[in-house]
Symmetry: C2
Subunit: 128 residues, 2 copies
C-alpha cells in the first residue's frame, strides 16, 4: 500500500506532499469549505439543489453551484435533470463519492464529538 515509485525529487508518486501532484488538486477540492458539507449532506441520500441550499447553512447559490460542478467533474457526484417545468435537478453520490464521504464524515463526526474538549482546551490556554 505504501510501496511506491520514488522519483529523483525524493517524493513518491501520488504523494500529496508534492505540489505538482494531481492528488493535491483533488485534495483541495474535497477539503474546500463547501465540498465537505455537500458530500456530508448527500451521504444520507440524493438531494435537490434547493434542498442542499437549505441544509447547508450560509452557502450562496454561486458557491453551491460551483462546488457541485467541481465535485461532478471529479466524478464524486451524479447530476440528474428531470425534464419538467420547472426543472428538477437531483444530485447523488457516485461510488467514489460514497467512499470518499465515508472518510470525510468520520472526520466531521470526530470534530462534532470532540468539540467541547477542544473549546475547553482553548479556553484553558487563553486563560493561563
Amino acid at each position: 500500500m505504501s510501496a511506491q515509485v520514488v522519483e529523483s525529487s525524493g517524493r513518491r508518486k501520488g504523494d500529496v506532499f508534492d505540489s505538482n501532484c494531481p492528488s493535491r488538486t483533488v485534495l483541495d477540492h474535497v477539503t474546500s469549505k463547501w465540498a465537505v458539507l455537500v458530500l456530508a449532506a448527500l451521504r444520507t441520500g440524493p438531494m435537490r439543489f434547493s434542498a442542499l441550499r437549505r441544509t447547508i447553512g450560509g452557502v450562496s447559490e454561486k458557491m453551491l453551484a460551483q462546488t457541485l460542478r467541481t465535485l461532478e467533474a471529479d466524478g464524486f457526484l451524479d447530476r440528474e435533470v428531470a425534464p419538467t417545468t420547472p426543472p428538477q435537478v437531483t444530485y447523488s453520490l457516485t461510488q467514489y463519492g460514497a467512499e470518499l464521504t465515508e472518510h470525510l464524515t468520520g472526520l466531521v463526526e470526530w470534530i462534532a464529538v470532540r468539540m467541547p474538549d477542544i473549546e475547553a482546551g482553548r479556553a484553558a490556554r487563553t486563560g493561563s
Copy 2:
C-alpha cells in the same frame, strides 16, 4: 452518538451544517490547504520548522507559520523551543492532533490510491 439536542432551528448542536457552530470553524481550520499537509507530515513524528517546509511542497514561510499557529491554538499541535543559537523549534501532534490526523490520513491515502481511477474517469467524461 447521533442523539443530540434539537434546537428551534431544526439543527443539532455541534452540527457542522450550522454556519454559526464553532465546529465549522475547526473544520475550516483542519481542512485548509496547508493544515491537512502539516498534520499528515507530523504523523510519523515531531518535525522542525525547516523540515516541515522542505517536506510540504510549495508552502511559504508565512503560510506555514500561520497554519502552525492556528493548529497550535486549536490544541492539535505542541510547539517546543530549544533555547539554543540558532533556536530550534520542534512541532509535534498532541493527543487530539493525533486522533484528528488518523481521520485525515485515511482520507489522504484513499485519494492517493484512487487517484488513477479518478483521473481515468475524468478523462473518459471529457472525451465523450
